[in-house]
């Protein structure tokens, strides 16, 4: 029998791992050349990346920043076509950002979007002080005023309608019951907006004329237009989408049919069709002489379009919740809206975050379609820039710049969604 006795005489010191498995060499071996097939694929892919970059980079790095026309670019690069012409971006980037918004009023747009960040931040990041949410509530009224200008009493009169609805609900509920309070909360503001808000705002403006210089919608353009349409559509489509998703699951036949009908109709029609309806057809149905702002019409259409998709995304989240969650909420005596707000939606929306953010990104990119009905979004502007004699023929540089800007926005949204998913993980399955 072998000797099974063993006693260690000296303890082994900690040692470095073999060089081949650690550091850069180890990483390369592990990730790029772990097997013959992997090695072949790695070499082929690296070759392809090199091929693409070797063609692209010389085009990108071209000394044409100072050029003032396409011809000048050609001279600077020695007449070749293999070089980009960046002068167009230097000369026209402000236009790509602001469209034909008056130059001396650019500060209003910049301030508006800076305040947008302030207003959105507490919604996105719950660690920020909750008091900032008051500003978020004010911002929707401040934003159009800064962009379009006009009397300050207009947004205040519109906001007063919401306040009116809130108080109508608060005081009517104990007096007349829940349903009457909801109806009043809708009806009173509508009456206010249609009949009283306008005269009141005009009256106040004549007493105390506080106003910003008005900017017409046709001067809006560039990324500012895309962001305006995108942000408003994104912000409004989520709540409408949630309501539609709930409507689609409702036990009430009429509510369910209307929701299904709306969702299926909107999803069955291309956005371009809706935009054409907004730009041309809608005027036919309006009483003659009504001036219904084109950007507002487009925003309404894009919002409805996004809402229908949002409704389906949220419905997916709702369907993923076990029935037991509804039953537990019911058994505890929570009413429908409490159960939705406290139990169902927090979970359903969390499940749907990737889908919701995909829809957001889609909506934001779809705003470029407004160029087809003649609004000057970045794509529309690129056409009008090419119409200039000096830049006739510049294509890739403009589209590349526009693509880069869109990428920055969409990529940040996608990153935020991943951050949110990680944050909402509460250690359960």
């Amino acid at each position: 029998m072998a000797d099974l006795h063993f006693v260690r005489k000296a303890m082994i010191e900690e040692q470095e791992p073999p060089a081949a498995t650690a550091g850069v060499a180890g990483w390369v071996r592990e990730n790029l050349f772990s097997s013959p097939l992997n090695a072949i694929l790695s070499i082929l892919s690296l070759g392809f990346v090199f091929y693409v970059l070797s063609a692209l980079l010389p085009w990108v790095f071209s000394p044409t920043w100072s050029a003032t026309s396409l011809g000048e670019c050609r001279e600077l690069t020695g007449g070749g076509h293999g070089k980009a012409c960046w002068g167009v971006i230097r000369e026209r980037w402000l236009q790509l950002m602001f469209g034909f918004y008056p130059k001396e009023l650019y500060w209003r747009v910049v301030l508006d979007f800076a305040l947008l960040i302030v207003a959105v931040a507490p919604v996105l990041f719950t660690k920020l002080p909750r008091k900032m949410l008051y500003f978020s509530a004010v911002y929707p009224f401040l934003m159009p005023w800064l962009l379009w200008g006009g009397s300050i009493w207009n947004p205040i009169a519109v906001a007063a309608g919401f306040v009116l609805g809130f108080f109508a609900h608060k005081y009517a509920r104990p007096a007349f019951g829940g349903l009457a309070a909801v109806i009043l909360a809708f009806l009173l503001p509508i009456i206010w907006w249609f009949f009283l808000a306008g005269p009141l705002a005009n009256g106040l403006a004549s007493v105390l004329p506080l106003a910003l210089e008005t900017v017409e919608s046709r001067n809006f353009g560039g990324f500012m237009l895309s962001i305006t349409i995108g942000v408003v559509a994104i912000a409004i489509s989520l709540p409408i989408g949630i309501l539609l998703a709930l409507g689609r699951q409702s036990d009430l036949f009429i509510v369910r049919s209307l929701s299904v009908g709306f969702i299926e109709f909107i999803r069955g029609v291309p956005l371009i069709t809706l935009l054409f309806v907004a730009s041309t057809l809608l005027n036919i149905f309006m009483p003659p002489g009504t001036d219904f702002d084109i950007i507002l019409r487009v925003i309404i259409m894009v919002t409805l379009f996004a809402s229908a998709y949002m409704a389906e995304v949220v419905r997916g989240g709702l369907a993923a919740l076990p029935k037991g969650q509804y039953e537990a909420a019911d058994a505890l005596g929570l009413d429908f809206w409490m159960a939705q707000r406290l139990i169902i939606m927090p979970q359903a929306l969390k499940i749907s975050i990737p889908g919701i953010v995909s829809t957001f990104i889609g909506v934001f990119k779809d705003t470029t379609l407004v160029s087809i009905i003649g609004l000057l979004d970045p794509i529309g502007l690129s056409n009008s820039i090419r119409a200039d004699q000096a830049w006739n023929g510049v294509v890739w540089e403009l589209y590349g710049f526009i693509a880069l800007m869109f990428f920055v926005f969409c990529f940040s949204m996608s990153r935020y969604s991943m951050f949110l998913e990680r944050k909402l993980q509460t250690g359960h399955r």
């Binding site: 039953e327 537990a328 019911d330 058994a331 505890l332 005596g333 139990i343 979970q347 509460t426 359960h428």
Partner: protein
Amino acid sequence: MSETAIEREIDRSHMEVSDKLAIQITHMNKWYGTFHVLRDINLSVYEGERIVIAGPSGSGKSTLIRCINRLEEHQAGEIVVDGTELSSDLKNIDKIRSEVGMVFQHFNLFPHLTILENCTLAPIWVRKTPRKEAEEIAMHYLEKVKIPEQALKYPGQLSGGQQQRVAIARSLCMKPRIMLFDEPTSALDPEMIKEVLETMIQLAEEGMTMLCVTHEMGFAKQVANRVIFMDQGQVVEQNEPNEFFNNPQHERTKLFLSQILGH
């Protein structure tokens, strides 16, 4: 279908059945579409009763107790809970639900809220209890079910038995007058069944009116004052536990008992 015995003397000093009605069900019928699940159910539950409802699967026992707090709707007959009749009047339904606690087979805790938040949610939003007070009540009941130290964890971090005890505490925070248990131990490992049964016995000792759908015949023998046996949507036999187990009358009951008690 086990017979987990709790090896301790049960304190019967508060277990008294009053002559006040807690629940009265008369000629209640329920259909799923055309399928007649509950047939002419008549049941009077007095305050302080501890009723165990047994029966093979599909016999309608879960459906019966789910009708009592309107998780299922009955189509004919009458259910009166604590003097309030269950109709489609939402006010009555909410009133009954806040007075009747329910514990489910799969716990149904809210996974996005901590244990403490699970317990304070309904008192704060339904009873309008101030948050601080609701938290004190919640901690009181969490101590009672012996898991106060888990209060800040999420349900996913707890074992099945712990989750079910939280579910019981969550119901108790609403200070219900009646507790319904829908197979509370069926989804649990044997050793966890014991801790949940212990909690239920404790509740019975305090005089709570309880209706339990369960296969725990040990619990029925030790705690129940009445056992109801159901099959094919109807009450086949009911009796006090001793008589029920030792001297069953109906053939179906005899067959069922011989199968689950494994003799």
